[in-house]
Symmetry: C2
Subunit: 317 residues, 2 copies
Amino acid sequence: MGRPVYLDCDTGIDDSLAIAYLMAHPDVDLVGVGTVFGNIDAHRAARNTLDLLALGGHGHVPVAIGAEKPLAGAWLGGPAHIHGGNGVGNVELPRGDREPLSDESAADLLVRLAHEHEGDLRVLAVGPLTNLARALDVETALPYLVESVVVMGGAARVPGNVTPVAEANIFNDPEAADRVLSAEWPLTLVPLDVTMEHMIEEADRESLLAADVPIPRALGQMLDVYYEFYVGTFGRRCAPLHDPLAAAITAGGATPLVAPTVQVVVDSTDGPGRGQTICDLRGERVGYPDQPTAHCRLVLSLDAPFGPHLVERLTSS
Amino acid sequence: MGRPVYLDCDTGIDDSLAIAYLMAHPDVDLVGVGTVFGNIDAHRAARNTLDLLALGGHGHVPVAIGAEKPLAGAWLGGPAHIHGGNGVGNVELPRGDREPLSDESAADLLVRLAHEHEGDLRVLAVGPLTNLARALDVETALPYLVESVVVMGGAARVPGNVTPVAEANIFNDPEAADRVLSAEWPLTLVPLDVTMEHMIEEADRESLLAADVPIPRALGQMLDVYYEFYVGTFGRRCAPLHDPLAAAITAGGATPLVAPTVQVVVDSTDGPGRGQTICDLRGERVGYPDQPTAHCRLVLSLDAPFGPHLVERLTSS
């Protein structure tokens, strides 16, 4: 039996890779999924999630719909040019036979699972942090109930992907991110600094398409749209592994190498830095001396290339 | 006859290195210096500057006192633990026999020199940008009168030195920096990204102390205090070459290697990003495609180590 994991996501192509990775990992017991606006709306994200879970033999995992907009302000819709009009690269997944929970929000599901698996639950958030912020309001003891929190988001020393300094998950709800990153739980932040360095390539996509099980084939199809978008960033068809990398760190399948525990503050002003994760890396040349009140581990590099591990995991299961 | 250079500075140990470099460079005609609060107050910065100029046989160069505080808010005093109580590492320089201009501010001096050397004047600013911002108010055509502007300041992909994201010159007057960086002149920004990579070491300090002319000896003495401060940053006695590097780029003695022309915006909010230079480096992986309205060249690396060149220039003249 694996370790209990709650996933919060906005499914999404790289979210789909993360879900597939979690289903394929023997040490993971995916006990619930909450969805949030971001790559796509939260309702569609739940449908995508249920369909992926069914396709991967995990139809039993409960899926709850969460926030459709940030704590403050409006959501302007998902980036169809990145994730396709349906969030999963315009691929038509076979419809699973389950529906989202009708009586429980994502925040409520997270709180319930934190109590049911007290001290053991690993929380993995790969979308805007609105559901986690709400869960902290519902259950103020949440930071002390969960085992750990891993968040894909932010950019420390590299450019953002929405503004020059802001990454999409944080930018989509800076007020929620501020709340989640300042809560007193052991949090690992997986920013663009590391996710942009671990890639999936065209040859990998061909391996996925050639697999004789449905999930990798569906992922290989989805990646077509995603790769097209990233030609503008990388100059070739490929994609960075944002969400699956955070999933692998949660599962223990990827090991951070440089990962200092430092002060991280979210810029929630309305200025040009809105949505930036401001990380205090001033001690970088002397081994990051202790910052006594810091509780955010910032992953800046891994001990091994992640792409090959991901593809092997997805195609061998 | 060298090229006319106006220097705006807050002298300052590394400002002193910059002044010495400019005096020693055959292609530079230092036609005026304005001073500003920052490393020390503007009055003391003028005294330090006059004494250095006299010691280096440049007593004829006019020095004008500029702003003693930023455009908005107050100045809290200079960092005596970095530059010493007098700005020049507590070294007592022989008093030069000139005084600052009594009838002209730094901003007025800059505007006058820009007219006198129309199309030729190189402006080098190595302190807070208050005087340059005021000069832009006095003479709105200033951006079209000068040959170029080089500013030491900001941090693009590396930590700040006052906050996790803000460098001191910009942080000391973000409103002025915003005005100067958005004016339509050809501006080269020399941020911590490059200045923190070019060092002066203990052996270099010994070379300066062993010189048989007074300026390098005085610089070698000043560096004692400066080196002590930087032990906390680098783990050894040494110093990064902030201001002299900007001086060398102005003089043509250092050549930028990676130096894209990109959008740069100064965060002048009261949030955690105040004083940050937000640089749009999102095109870094595909050779920085044109950003049509950008006019700020951001120096990220040089084509050669600068420390040895600086020390040779200072000790051979």
